[in-house]
Amino acid sequence: MHTVVRSASRTVVIGPDQPFCVIGERLNPTGRRIFQDQLRAGDLSRIELDVAEQVAGGAMMLDVNMGVPLLDEADLLSRVVRLVQGMTDLPLCIDSSVVEALDAGLAAYEGKALVNSVTAEDDRLAAILPLVKRYGAAVVALPNDEEEIPEDPARRLELARKIVDVATGRYGIPAEDIVIDPLAMPVGADTSLVTKTLETISMIRDELGVNMTLGASNVSFGMPHRHALGAAFLPMAMHAGLTSAIMDARTPQIVDAVKAADLLLGNDEWGANWISMFRARQAG
């Protein structure tokens, strides 16, 4: 199954037979106090640097989240979407849990965006899926509901299935425009959590066949030497069936691991991407 996203001038295809879709996570003020203060002061200068670093690092899409406490997120997100689209032709992932902000971000966006995100909660589905349909976007969906983030892979699959059923059946959104987030959890909190994520990924691949993305940096939260953990996790997840990740696109160790796994898993014909990456660095 192929999920197609677009900016005004570039198309990106996410799919199991495609190079892994690296979505840069950096345009997000959570945990970045200085960036938050800048945004509060109306200073958007940092964004240009964040975009440039992620593009140079090999991002294929960029996630844009502008959740700053006490700021009008809808207004800020729509302005930043326009700003970023003026800096790069990479398609964007419009990221907010505020419905009005998603609406404003999508209205400002040129192309076909990926919306991040909806959950299996009935009120979230009812609020966000009509937006996704109206703007002809694709959507990231998290298999958690009002009660819980289930740990059990079978329960996550069940909730993922519910989302796909509701989106396709009730709202007419094609299954290829639904990207399930199998939920990456911090291995530092419990060392059995990542194997559960991997199991969820292969179950969703086998049962639903939809594309998947996740927040890869969650895995290494609270641990030392995070880059090595990211570089080990992503190839395993790719082998299980993960087709995309919202991740650190600025760190060569992690991006290289993804590109290497693309080649080793048969998604980089004749190693063309791998070789051109090498040449570009040699030239640089």
Partner: protein, 221 residues
């Protein structure tokens, strides 16, 4: 083992999160006639304070904090009834929960560990805690402080909803409200009318102690 060796052992084994050893040493101390509060204040609490300090410095990582907390909790379970008997007061009772709509719990759990380590009695309501559940727990446990945790900018407004529910239930004056979580700021805490905010687990303990102290002073005047 001498009492000194037991205290040193408790300190060292808590630091490395060896729960079975900590429980054994706690029992050994009690069998040797040591006072429960000696074990608590001269070994367990200093050890957990050191764990917190190392975590803040970046020398300790999340799993190390969690296993140290678990080792301490095992000993506390053994000591708490004895401490109650001997009339050793806890620093205070703290009801804690992640707000409705939010399922993040690592940060909250770390704060719980540090609070327990400092001598608070912590009642953890878990995640997705509704205003009604907070109210019910406050009526049941009569805590000195209630803590609301949120990890998302979208769930932070639940702080205000919870505080409104406290006001409506006539409980607002009976309990100190603390808020925290990754996106929370002092400015936001002030805006929703919380009594206290802290940026990390160690700061939360310090703030909780300060607020308790301030309340005692105010009650005395």
């Amino acid at each position: 083992m001498t009492p000194e060796e037991i205290l040193q052992g408790l300190y060292d084994q808590t630091l490395v999160g060896n729960a079975p050893a900590v429980l054994d040493l706690t029992n050994a101390g009690l069998d040797a006639g040591m006072a429960p509060e000696t074990l608590l204040f001269d070994a367990l609490i200093p050890s957990l304070e050191e764990v917190g300090a190392r975590f803040e410095r970046g020398d300790f990582f999340v799993p190390e904090m969690l296993i140290a907390g678990r080792a301490m909790a095992g000993a506390l379970e053994r000591l708490r009834p004895l401490l109650a008997e001997t009339g050793v007061a806890t620093l205070g009772t703290f009801v804690m929960g992640t707000v409705k709509g939010d399922v993040h719990d690592i940060g909250k759990n770390l704060v719980n560990i540090m609070l327990e380590g400092a001598g608070f009695h912590v009642i953890d309501l878990g995640v997705q805690v509704s205003p009604e559940k907070f109210i019910e727990a406050i009526r049941t446990y009569k805590p000195d402080i209630v803590g609301f945790s949120a990890f998302l900018t979208t769930t932070m407004p639940m702080f205000k909803a919870n505080i409104n529910a406290l006001v409506k239930a006539g409980l607002r004056d009976q309990v100190i409200v603390m808020v925290g979580g990754a996106p929370v700021t002092q400015e936001y805490a002030d805006a929703v009318g919380a009594d206290g905010y802290a940026a990390d687990a160690s700061a939360a303990v310090k703030k909780a102690k300060d607020l308790m102290q301030r309340r005692r002073v105010m009650a005395a005047t």
